[in-house]
């Protein structure tokens, strides 16, 4: 306890005696974790956009003339991987066709009796389930034909797999790079205290006693740096989301209180534990070097 209060006093001293190095280490941590956070948000949004697009995938099932539209809809709704079903009666289908043809709709009015069949519009949870659902639907006796964007679904499924891998890779890489830069920065900052560590050990201070202020110093940098990084990133991302919403309302970005909390927790947790670890390794190296008699 006593040596802990000493360590805290000493940490304050270390910070105050070289404010330049402390300040720049703080900035480096900030920048590094800002980038890590950016990668995180990028990965998150890529996956979000893809899943939104996937949510718009539909399988169109055209029914036999006498099929029970509502009953079938209920049944299909309960199938796995189905997110929703919209039943379309022949009358609705005609209206839709007219709307689709635009100013050529005159052509449709030339038709006498409505030749269009009833259909189900089945929304699917993700791209890779589309072909399975389509196969199940076509095997039903009430269904005459099934139409779905098979190529698009396949593309999307691949894209989603790819984005999954890519975002994982990005995160791991950003994390590694961050750890590397952090370790380097802390190590060099502690390197400039090498002699101090040597002398302390020479006059009989315990290794833990010597290390503690430096570990606290690393912790301090990590904490303040990542706190600032989450604040800056949160603020910038919020304004980014806002300006996207204003100018490009059709693009949906991930944006929720939980997101910011998660972001802050990841950055601060990662930064604090990383910087703790880094400063511990860095100072431990000096200590064991200094303790080894030659």
């Amino acid at each position: 306890m006593r040596s802990f209060s000493f360590a805290i006093r000493d940490t304050v001293r270390l910070i105050r005696r070289s404010p330049g190095i402390s300040g720049l280490t703080f900035l480096t941590v900030l920048v590094v974790f800002f980038f890590v956070g950016c990668s995180f948000l990028l990965a998150l949004n890529t996956r979000h956009v893809i899943s939104v697009v996937e949510g718009e995938l539909v399988v169109q099932a055209y029914l036999q003339p006498k099929a029970d539209l509502e009953g079938l809809a209920k049944k299909v709704e309960k199938m796995p991987h189905v997110r929703g079903v919209r039943p379309i009666s022949p009358e609705q289908a005609l209206e839709l066709l007219k709307a689709r043809l635009g100013n050529q709709s005159a052509a449709v009015t030339l038709l006498g009796e409505n030749p269009l069949p009833a259909s189900l519009e089945v929304r699917v949870d993700k791209a890779s389930s589309v072909s399975g659902i389509a196969r199940e639907l076509v095997s039903m006796p009430e269904v005459e034909d099934v139409v779905y964007a098979g190529k698009v679904a396949e593309k999307l499924a691949r894209l989603s797999r790819f984005a999954e891998i890519f975002s994982l890779f990005l995160l791991v890489f950003a994390g590694l790079a961050g750890a590397l830069v952090l370790y380097n920065t802390i190590r060099v900052a502690i390197y400039s205290r090498k002699q101090e560590i040597e002398v302390m050990l020479l006059v009989g201070a315990m290794p833990g006693f010597v290390a503690l202020p430096f570990v606290l110093l690393g912790l301090f940098w990590g904490l303040t740096g990542t706190l600032a990084a989450s604040a800056v990133l949160g603020f910038l991302y919020k304004s980014f989301v806002n300006s996207v919403q204003n100018t490009l309302p059709f693009i949906q970005l991930v944006d929720s209180p939980q997101l910011y909390l998660k972001l802050a927790l990841i950055l601060i947790g990662g930064g604090v534990s990383l910087s703790w670890l880094c400063s511990w390794i860095a100072v431990e190296r000096h200590i064991s070097e200094a303790m080894k008699p030659s």
Binding site: R2, S3, S5, F6, R13, R17, Q195, E196, E198, V199, M200, L201, L202, V203, G204, A205, M206, P207, F209, M291, P293, S294
Partner: protein, 231 residues
Amino acid sequence: MEIRMSGVTKTFGEDITALEDVFLSVPKGDFVYLVGPTGSGKTTLLRILNRELLPSRGQVLVGEYNLRKLRRTKVCQYRRAIGMVFQDYRLLEDRTALENVAFVLEAVGAPRKEALDRAGEVLDCVGMWRRRFLYPRELSGGEQQRVSIARAIANDPLLLLCDEPTGNLDPQTAGEIMQVLLSINASGTTLIMATHNRYLVDAYRQRVVELKMGRIVRDQERGRYDFDEEL
């Protein structure tokens, strides 16, 4: 503490032999001058006793410690039991004189206030009370040297190793410091002092161990700095 060095040799690299086959035993409470020309191995001997260096060959026993076989925590414990005045002072650059001394006391676990009080006391002993709030780079050579002496004695060590503790002091101040060291020795602390100061050695006669080229060439009770004069 009692010191027993037997057959201690210290070589650096291939061709530098700083100490060769040194046998030295110092009973508890002894005062030993270590003299010899520059480069004769005095600092090497003291650094071996401070466990900064391991002997290349030979045994070193200090009190109950066998310096060849100390584990990390034991080394710290050992170093706290002894004190050393380094030839190049080795003060902590960004601590004031007072904090430099108080630091070793806090490292042992003394509460802040006690440490500062005790540090002030020993600084007063070596005449550095007035300069206690200055940083090492703001002190003169002799003042730094005295802070380094204060740090070494603050802990009431059982063994005090002094490497040229008066090199940057004028004769009068050196004499005062010598009085301090003698009184510490009188209280039972074993004291080894490497020195070139002929005045002191001749004025305060004690056991003299002379090194030359890494070998002990003289070990004399109540000796003088130069051997010839004793004849």
